[in-house]
């Protein structure tokens, strides 16, 4: 299906998220849509997938002007979008979820649905157990399922929004292979929205580059990464080299910590993180690294063993007590776990500040917030609400809300979904934290990031923690082996 977008504009108040975008997508080709955070990629794709209407502009499918009123409506017109977070319903079986998505009659026809589902899955090399519960599936499997659902719904145009976030390398290969097949053999139009330029180069034939709501470039792929980056940013950002730093005394120590949940057992964790040290946790999602981090934050309690903070046993301390004693925690889901949609930046600051007044001095807090906005380069104002910020700015806000000084900073995926420049800036901020003697423990799915920024690394696989690696002497290959459970 040929897609033409004509002069698409989307304004949110003063903000021009899309400012007159024209582009054409031919069937049978895989396109990339790239740009830094807030460039307008998501907005444009949400418009094309019927999630939100444009302020003005036209969408043409095979030469026909269409109005897309909802994602379901868009799918009926042949446009399907695979979201970054799959939107299926966790407490269902795969087959039920599939049936829910298809417009059937009153009676549920399990037999036909099963045949359809397995047929489609087989065709694209997906291995889906139709009777499995959705919440037992990995992120990659859920995506496969969602893709099958879109295809069954008659999607001719597929929009993939950061599809490789949180999935394994193996699943990524399967996904990419099936996408190539869809484009080459079945003539589907595919649009990949991604920050990962390697993937874009690997998969796509043509790239559209957005900057500040406008289309600033088109490029045949593959090309040099620098060419794309230059279009995205106007200039190639300099990655700061890691400043050298002498680490101090141990801040965090885990001794024989065992965490047992109904899903996973994490046995016998022993590690220590020293003042000023940056410690990285690698591993596939759900391998136990998050449980260990939450135990350190006081959000879950270890079943056995002890956790020490500056030599003090804090194994039974709750989150708030640790927070008051210099432990900072930044979770991965910004608006779900950390920020409150609808509250202003200043209101967040009031809640996060350790010293509590009975009556709020709004003027003083707004001033303080304005100062932090400047310091952390947040694009927003004290009276802006947190949900009106872009992803990168939400992340900066979370960092701005952390107290100073901290003994220990725990971070889950600190740069997930950020563009190159924001990632760089985030790490500069984190390096500054080391000067206060803050020990940093972080989880990342990006192996290069872990190797580049950590002093030491531990890899989790199926709940077990590997030996502790020196980041300067390890390679992505070695980590890859450990992630796969090989020693």
């Amino acid at each position: 299906m040929r897609v033409e977008l004509k002069d698409i504009r989307k304004y949110f108040g003063q903000v021009k998220a899309n400012d007159g975008i024209n582009l054409t997508l031919e069937p049978g080709k895989i396109y990339a849509l790239v740009g830094e955070n807030g460039a307008g990629k998501s907005t444009l794709m949400k418009i094309l997938s019927g999630y939100q209407p444009p302020t003005s502009g036209e969408i043409l499918l095979d030469g026909q002007t269409v109005q897309l009123h909802s994602p379901a409506d868009a799918l009926a017109h042949g446009v399907g979008m695979l979201y970054q977070d799959p939107l299926d319903m966790p407490p269902f079986r795969v087959i039920d979820n599939y049936l829910l998505g298809s417009n059937g009659g009153v009676r549920l026809d399990y037999k036909t649905a099963r045949a359809e589902l397995e047929g489609l899955a087989g065709r694209y090399g997906f291995d889906i157990d139709v009777n499995a519960m959705i919440d037992s599936l990995s992120m990659g499997e859920r995506q496969q399922l969602e893709l099958v659902r879109l295809l069954a719904g008659g999607a001719e145009v597929l929009i993939l929004d950061e599809p490789t976030t949180g999935i394994s390398a193996e699943q990524k290969e399967i996904l990419f292979e099936s996408i190539r097949k869809l484009a080459r053999e079945e003539g589907k139009t595919v649009i990949l929205v991604s920050h990962k330029l390697e993937e874009v180069q690997d998969l796509c034939l043509y790239a559209y580059v957005l900057r500040r709501g406008q289309l600033v470039g088109e490029q045949e792929l593959p090309c040099l990464n620098e060419q794309l980056v230059e279009m995205m940013f106007g200039q190639v950002p300099q990655r700061t080299r890691r400043p050298a730093f002498d680490v101090g005394e141990p801040v965090l120590e885990l001794r024989d910590v065992t965490i047992d949940t109904y899903q996973l057992t994490v046995p016998d964790i022993n590690l220590s993180v020293r003042a000023g040290e940056i410690f990285g946790f690698a591993g596939l999602e759900g391998s136990g690294q998050r449980l260990v981090m939450q135990a350190c934050a006081g959000l879950t309690q270890p079943n056995q063993g002890h956790i020490y903070l500056n030599g003090q046993d804090v194994s039974r301390w709750g989150y708030h007590r640790l927070q008051a004693n210099g432990v900072g925690y930044v979770a991965a889901g910004r608006l779900e776990e950390g920020l409150v949609a609808g509250l202003t930046l200043t209101e967040h600051l009031v809640l996060a500040r350790p010293e509590k007044q009975f009556f709020i001095d709004w003027k003083d807090n707004a001033q303080e917030m304005a100062g932090r906005i400047e310091k952390y380069q947040i694009i927003g104002r004290p009276e802006t609400t947190a949900d009106a910020l872009s992803g990168g700015n939400q992340q900066r806000l979370l960092f701005a809300l952390l107290n100073t000084p901290l003994k220990l900073l725990l971070l889950e995926h600190p740069t997930r979904g950020l563009d190159v420049r924001s990632i760089d800036y985030t790490w500069q901020l984190l390096y500054k934290r080391r000067d206060d003697g803050t020990a940093i423990l972080f989880i990342s799915a990006d192996l290069d990031e872990i190797i580049e920024h950590s002093d030491r690394i531990a890899v989790f696989s199926g709940g077990k923690m590997s030996r502790i690696l020196d980041a300067h002497e390890t390679t992505a290959d070695e980590l890859g082996h450990l992630i796969g459970g090989q020693e």
Binding site: P71, H320, H348, I360
Partner: protein
Amino acid sequence: MNDAELSQGKPAGTQNWLLRLWPIVPIIAALLFTSGLLLLFNAGPLESYSAMWTGAFGDANKTFSVLAFWIPLLLASFGLLITFTAGLWNIGIEGQIILGAIFASWVALKVDGPAILLIPLELLAAMVGGALWAGIVAVLKTRGKVNEIFGGLALNNLAIILTNYLISGPWQPPEGGSFRGTTPFQEAALLPRYMDTRFSPLSLVLAVSAFVIVFFILRGTTWGLKLKALGKNPYSAFLLGVRSERETIMAMMFCGALGGLAGAVRVLSWFDSLRQSISGGIGFLALLIVILAAYRIFWVPLIALFFSAVLNGSITLQLRTQLHSSLGGILTGVMVLFVLLFGSAKQLGIGKTKQVVSEGAPEVTYSPADTIVPGKHGGD
């Protein structure tokens, strides 16, 4: 979503003006709907409404009755503003009002003393009673994972049963239990009333104080902000440092205390003894008032007054016309339905300050899309 977008095109002034008058729209719609209903029963709407008006404000006595009924509605509504802010559905407010009435009655029946001592003691007891009842619901929620709606409903029933037991058992009048009420309280125990009416100026002082206190809690205190965060996103609030359990219990108990005060005003000025249906649904009415007011404190007194007038007026309506007095109930019920029908106030961007409505347009358009569409997605 479309509404918000369309209105962006209009000058900001028009939009604010519309938003400010928002509660009027469902009220007018409900009046029109009820008029249709009246015509169906061959009753003249104008005649009926004028009968209601006379019933509510026909003479000084009636007007003071409306005011006397208004006060407990206000007290309960102000309490509910706190729980709604914290994201809690305090259906148990009805039981908290009843417990307040029971505790106040207990002091009134069992303690002898001058009014200057008795009245503060009664009010304090009522607040303790209401707060206690609300505290049980809160602890059931935080520790027992019992939703506050179910816990509240159960305790509402318990409160009614307790009242019936007290009236027909230990506190029954010497001439024998009648299921109507206890012995009338001693004169010193009753709130001083204006002339021969049921209206007590002291209760108005209580309501005004509650208004001021709740206004400042929500506007300018850290506690109010914590409750707001808790109501919008409990987990994020927790991570930001809000002690969710403690604040939940505190919010419920605060509301319970004001509910208890409402109960005290009922027994000590509207009645003169503990009665079987001491609350008579005031708590539920207060819930409707707060929803209709779109959780804005300045609208609460006006809407509560309207409810009080309609309900008092419909008694006269029954006497003058052949219509049943439940018309008042129908009118208020339909009104709330219309509020829900016209969309939740939040989606229209109400509840934000004037400044944010005109400047922060992005979130007005964002939030509905974000909340509505993903839900639809699974069902296509």
